[in-house]
Amino acid sequence: MFRFSTTTPSGAELVVPPGWLTLCHACDLLSRVGEVPAGGTARCPRCGSVVYRRIRDSLDRTLALALAGLFLFIAANAFPFLALKMQGNVTDTTLSTGVSALYEQGSPIVASLVLLTTIVAPFLQIASLIFVLGPLRLGIRVPGQLHVFRLLRRVQPWSMMEVFIMGVLVSLVKLLDMAQIVPGIALWSFVLLIPVLAAATSSLDAESVWRRVGFVR
């Protein structure tokens, strides 16, 4: 199952050597990416879109943030999210309560979309980062890394946790004069997970990862 790689040592820094060719994803201009200093950005000379960004300690940073994200994700799903106090009655809800309630009411489409964007997509994001970067950090190859890393790119636009928090905010205001709302541990975990996952995403140097996991049969 595991194959120890002899050519690539385990290491924190994955460096992309300068001089490689790239086509701008926005305007298709062919350009050569020169020496990019750590923390620096290479832009398309024609349209200004970012072509490559080199992040200091990309692998370690991204992996650490993804692992932190995994714990926060578990907490966000395991503990009470919001509780509603109304005339002595307390209703406890978790993150998935809304999804199941919508489903039971006969709105499977809306329920699935909420499930996808607030639970499934964030989980896939975190899990695939760990699955791809973990073995890289340890210097081993795991079958399927390539496909999982491709999946990550597809999943990203559908992960909408920050928008969900906006929804929570609006809901709180709407219920303000009707009932008392008590935020739970899961809500705080969820709120923390947003910057953690955003940082993990922006510290990922995809080009250097492709160079390590790509070109396999």
């Binding site: 060719l21 926005a26 024609r46 509603l84 709105s107 489409i109 809306v110 979309l113 929804g167 205001v173």
Partner: protein, 212 residues
């Protein structure tokens, strides 16, 4: 590397949509699927059938936008009385209750963003089809904005979800999702897919052609 003085050598290059690797496509072999040697994804020079797909999704989203705003997204039943809320009345409720910053955000996210997205994508599509040379950089930026801002339209869907979760379990009131929510979810998904299927490189292709 071969010199790129003429455009002909560049014409055969394509960047893999999944991993960005620059791949040389066989000239004249359009029916053969080329796979990226690095990540194994199918490589296209441009997103396949981009204009038609994007138009189809934009038109679908525009048609869904009407019922999404007319039908109620939420039904509140309390003490036997039912009150229905549309997207717009939800924003007005916040405004009336003095929460104007939040009202503005909701109005912007649910009413303005989808509309602006549809208008911007239509504008981009038409300008590409007409081979326009006008403000290429700004149009590319417009596309990036459209791509980034669309997700905020989900706010109202989430509000309905959270209110349903919190209130439907209590005895005093019940909140149900209305027909409008389904249409609205459709608008969000269709506009996101439309933005994804549009290929911004077409903006530059057509301009290059008309430049000669």
């Amino acid at each position: 590397m071969t010199p790129n003085s003429a455009n002909s050598s560049v014409e055969n290059l394509a960047s893999c949509h999944d991993c960005g690797f620059v791949v040389t496509l066989e000239a004249g072999a359009h029916h053969v699927k080329t796979r990226c040697p690095r990540c194994r994804a199918v490589v296209h020079r441009r997103k396949p059938d981009s204009l038609n797909r994007t138009w189809a999704l934009v038109i679908t989203a525009a048609m869904l936008y009407v019922p999404a705003n007319i039908f109620p997204v939420m039904k509140v039943i309390s003490f036997g009385k039912a009150q229905e809320d549309t997207i717009l009345s939800g924003a007005i409720y916040l405004l009336v209750h003095g929460m104007w910053p939040l009202a503005l955000i909701v109005f912007f996210a649910s009413v303005v963003v989808p509309l602006l997205k549809l208008i911007s994508l239509s504008f981009l599509l038409i300008s590409v089809q007409r081979g326009s040379n006008w403000r290429l950089v700004e149009r590319t930026k417009l596309y990036h904005v459209v791509e980034a801002v669309g997700r905020w339209s989900m706010t109202d869907i989430y509000v309905v979800t959270i209110l349903v979760a919190l209130v439907s379990l209590g005895n005093l009131a019940t909140i149900e999702a209305g027909m409008g929510a389904v249409y609205f979810a459709g608008v969000v998904v269709m506009t996101m897919l439309a933005a994804e299927s549009f290929d911004p490189r077409l903006i530059w292709d057509r301009a290059r052609e008309s430049n000669g």
